[in-house]
Symmetry: C2
Amino acid sequence: MIRFSSSVTNLRSSEIRDLMSLANKPDMILFSGGMPDNDLFPLREVDTIYQELTDTEKKIAMQYGPTHGIPQLLASLSEYLKEKGLPVEENRLLITTGSLQAINILAHAFIDPGDTIFVENPCFIGAISAFRSYQASIVSIPLTADGLNLIELRKKLDEMEKAPKFVYLTPNFHNPAGTLYTRETKLGLIELLKNKNIPLIEDDAYSDLYFHEEDKLHLQTIKSINPEGIDVCYTGSFSKILGPGLRLGWMLVPEEIYKKCELIKQSIDACSPSFTQMVAHKFLQNNVVTDYLNYIRPEYKHRAEIMTQLLKTTLPKGCNFTPPRGGFYIWIELPEQIDATAVLKRAIEKGVVFVSGKTFDPDGTRNNYIRLSFCNTSEEKIRKGIPLVVDSIRAEMELSHLPC
Amino acid sequence: MIRFSSSVTNLRSSEIRDLMSLANKPDMILFSGGMPDNDLFPLREVDTIYQELTDTEKKIAMQYGPTHGIPQLLASLSEYLKEKGLPVEENRLLITTGSLQAINILAHAFIDPGDTIFVENPCFIGAISAFRSYQASIVSIPLTADGLNLIELRKKLDEMEKAPKFVYLTPNFHNPAGTLYTRETKLGLIELLKNKNIPLIEDDAYSDLYFHEEDKLHLQTIKSINPEGIDVCYTGSFSKILGPGLRLGWMLVPEEIYKKCELIKQSIDACSPSFTQMVAHKFLQNNVVTDYLNYIRPEYKHRAEIMTQLLKTTLPKGCNFTPPRGGFYIWIELPEQIDATAVLKRAIEKGVVFVSGKTFDPDGTRNNYIRLSFCNTSEEKIRKGIPLVVDSIRAEMELSHLPC
């Protein structure tokens, strides 16, 4: 009998993962993955970057770097974030191995076993597992179409004897819900958290992937609003704007929090890959990132619109979703009686796969939602796959004698 | 007042790090770093690898991969490890972001706050910080020139009410001590740990860097001996045989332990960089690794011999070291009264830097040792720097009225 730590004794592979392995067939249409399309990666740009690296730069790429990141990337990323209005000067930047590592490190910095933290419901699955691995007691606040339900947040804050260790949110193009918080919700949230000694972790992996210039006002991150009286721990990622295979993200946090996080990172992987840091640096430095974003935004927008249109015209009554204004996902609410896992099983048989709602429920109970990713599937496959998803939903609804 | 978790409340930047920042001058001779020489990296080989990557391979490199590693690297690394005699078939391989992450994940898998674990004294600093970050109670067993002091190990095992959660060891070319365990020590260790339900973490970052073919018998890893009745968790790294900037290591562990570790890794960084995994895969697949090791081994051996020779002829009486038979380090014991930090301060003034012993003492007390790295300094600089180190030792000894 191996004596594991109590934090992992109850860790289990999720049901959804087991199911997904069934979906590992060559012709399967994938609405499941939260990753960029393989065919949209900037391969030629990366080729040019590699070809132009000097031997000195290659040596830096092969060597250990400082724990917080190689100076080259710290400088170019600082510039990039400053241009987005982030308060880079008054904070510290720490390069991490994907933004999931940033979230994990922050979890380690704040959570003692049993500590309460607040998250959205639904919530990014990676964050849930990071918080669980430090044995947090996770309290979830429902999302609305405008962002976090502030009435519920206030109620939960009033109810708690001890303030939560932090609040974790994804205000811009939420995963899985696709939600863009309105500016009003962001400002209301700031009012509620002000001077309460509750840090806010703002996960901002998707905000560069907006579809509408006119959303700029709502898109402003809470970190950029730079509210007084809240320690905002801002996390970002290269996964959606360059490539997840580089495993690079960052956190921009107040000095005192940075110091602890740097020490934690030292004990996790010493530093993030210098090799990919150098590539990301050149990508920012040569301003390839702007051109690339201008190339992928309309493509993702197009896919989202195709999917939205198909769903709007074919989804049975009782199924609802908010058309996404950016990001990677459409989040469909099914009638309460419908079990998304049953729908998923049917869909897999038909040759299409997505993620069922329970996966993203911190309480692991509500399962009448499905997440469809439009990001890594071509228009042709979207047109082929969505009817199969809708058929699967309809079949489950018929089984429940629901009108559809 | 930020409410950090108790695991990080007491995390402090080490004294040695602060001192090292003083040593950050352009002409400083560095005997401090445990990293390969920048000038020895296989840059042309990596160029060829990049140039020969197909677009399909580049897409894999840019994308998320499975948590345990991309299939290409898992296959080529399995072959590499099999050739080294490791029991790959009966275990599971998990690619990690540097071998430090493998150690960190194993620590997370086993340690509850307050749990006892056993390590060597001295011990790899990265492992100490990983174990501390999970609030382990660290018990250290002294190293001898032949490896772990088995008499002390047996005593400590008998003394403990509860068995330690694991024993962490670096049997081949220890960092910092340079020690190569004798085969007898390894067999004795196996006898002592057999059927005690105490997993052994065998850190094997350096065994490819042997200087003498005739050491092969002693070099056989404990994992390769494949002892019954011990769960050996074997960790390895690409940092010393390719480049640390790739941030790639691995663990080879029994299935039950693998399952927990994979779940933990999912919550840390989802997967290691596919980009560098693809490079490492090609490095193994094309067998460039063998040629490269044949190129660097004599170079490191040469540097070790130069340093050994200089130290042998100039170190004052009362200073002792075992000439290294591989790896990166020479570990010098100074007379008990001498404080290595005082020697280091003098050395930095003279333009040379190394790491003082306390850094590697899990108890943080003994400071009459210094670690000299011969790995990333040229022969010329070794010849220039060693006299400065010896002068600094001599000056401190004179101050203590020791004959020298």
